[in-house]
């Protein structure tokens, strides 16, 4: 025992000379702090035209008037630049990374249904065809619609907690070995169970309801959705992220998306993003409902 203690002490001393990754009091690699998201969402090969904001590809769209302005002043999108500063993760793949050719393994009939669905989203023919983000729905997957609002990672014994400024969302990733919730519980955020593999947090999420969007081109996934996320502490300021998306009702195989999180400048405040309280979207789209 004494020999072990001596050996441990000596080795620990030697290790202390190297840069040691910080740990939380309960022994998890410490990734706590505030970050912005890069990447994660990306286009598939041969995507359908996005009916909601075709500005990227429609020469007649509002954002292509040649004056540098989009539908709104550019400044509204520059909050992310402020948070990210000049930081970049070099040589990082972002977006769909598996399959490499970005041809998603759609079940052909589901791809056809998805393309039909998109055609009815602008104008939305009914509530069901309104994009989920416009309804302030909780984002089961990290969304490009987060407007560069930051994320906070907190860690305590038995769980990692991620707080999103976007739509004041939060998720608890349980590390205590508990089983998933029963299959009758379906949640926008699903149910997340995780464990650490070295400096990678591996998160398994099930129990999604059928109201999860991946992007504007993939406006819904099914309740068969199952994700495995890997958050890897890459360096003192970055977390690499990869998610394997499995949805056997829509796809024949899982596919993978990558991105990363970058620390924000010291002193950055978390700001409330109250969504429904200020939203007039459904009113503008459909008119006043009878009971109001």
């Amino acid at each position: 025992m004494v020999a072990a203690a001596l050996l441990t002490g000596a080795a620990a001393l030697a290790c202390a000379q190297e840069r040691t990754a910080p740990r939380t009091p309960d022994g998890q690699p410490d990734m706590q702090g505030m970050y912005t998201r890069n990447g994660v969402v990306g286009l598939e090969a041969q995507p359908p035209v996005n009916p909601i904001d075709p500005s990227g590809r429609n020469p007649r769209s509002v954002s292509d008037r040649g004056d540098g302005l989009g539908p709104y002043p550019k400044v509204f999108g520059e909050g992310g630049t402020v948070l990210r500063g000049g930081q970049r993760r070099q040589q990082r793949r972002v977006g769909i990374v598996d399959p490499e050719d970005k041809k998603l393994p759609w079940r052909p009939e589901e791809d056809a249904k998805r393309r039909e669905f998109l055609l009815k989203m602008n104008p939305a023919v009914d509530l069901k065809h309104v994009e989920l983000n416009a309804r302030c729905a909780l984002p089961g997957l990290f969304q490009g619609e987060d407007n560069n609002n930051p994320y906070q990672f907190l860690q305590r014994a038995g769980s990692v907690v991620i707080l999103y400024d976007y739509n004041h969302t939060s998720r608890v990733i349980h590390l205590d070995g508990r089983p998933h919730l029963g299959s009758n519980i379906r949640l926008f955020m699903g149910d997340s169970i995780g464990h650490w593999e070295g400096s990678t947090l591996v998160v398994d999420t099930t129990n999604f309801n059928d109201r999860t969007a991946y992007s504007r081109e993939i406006p819904y996934l099914s309740d068969a959705l199952h994700t495995v996320e890997r958050f890897t502490i890459a360096d003192a300021n970055s977390i690499d992220y990869e998610v394997t998306i499995e949805d056997s009702k829509l796809f024949t195989k899982p596919w993978k998306v990558a991105g990363y999180f970058t620390r924000v400048p010291k002193g950055t405040e978390s700001l409330e993003f109250a969504c429904a309280e200020g939203s007039q979207t459904l009113l503008n789209m459909f008119g006043k409902p009878p009971d109001r």
């Binding site: 702090g33 500005s55 709104y72 002043p73 509204f76 999108g77 983000n133 979207t281 503008n284």
Partner: protein
């Protein structure tokens, strides 16, 4: 094929990440509007700021308009506040009208009488500038 994808990439990079809601589903890009008037109210709230103005058309008729901007959080992080646009300010708004034909618009640009832009993001246009330095935490 390659040129097309580069164009798409460039297009995507140039666009503000103004998401969360369906601009194209609510506003008509074939109905541009230019409004000159006085700000009566500013609602500095998520997911989009709203401001209200009394505007006079060329015939001298007054109308009340409500116009939508982007999300306030990104403005706040860049030093703008709700007082950047105040009741009483005379402004010219360019935007597009809502599809439902009401006096609702988005605000593509907002200018003061001296030509200075509100919410344009460059120091020349009077933006307060960024808060603090971008440092590592």
């Amino acid at each position: 094929m390659r040129i097309l994808s580069i164009a798409v990439l460039l297009g995507a990079a140039a666009l503000p990440a103004l998401a969360h809601h369906s601009f194209a589903a609510e506003y008509d890009s074939n109905k541009p509007v230019t409004l000159k008037g006085t700000v009566t109210k500013v609602e500095w709230m998520n997911p989009h700021i709203w401001f209200y103005l009394e505007s006079k058309d060329d015939a001298g008729k007054t109308a009340t308009w409500q116009c939508e901007g982007g999300p306030p959080n990104s403005l706040t992080r860049q030093g703008w506040t709700r007082n950047s646009l105040k009741p009483g300010d005379q402004i010219t708004v360019e935007g597009f009208r809502a599809k439902d034909g009401t006096n609702t618009c988005n605000s593509r640009s907002v200018k003061m009488p001296d030509g200075k832009s509100v919410f344009s993001g460059t120091a020349d246009d009077g933006a307060p500038g960024r808060r603090g330095e971008a440092k590592q935490e």
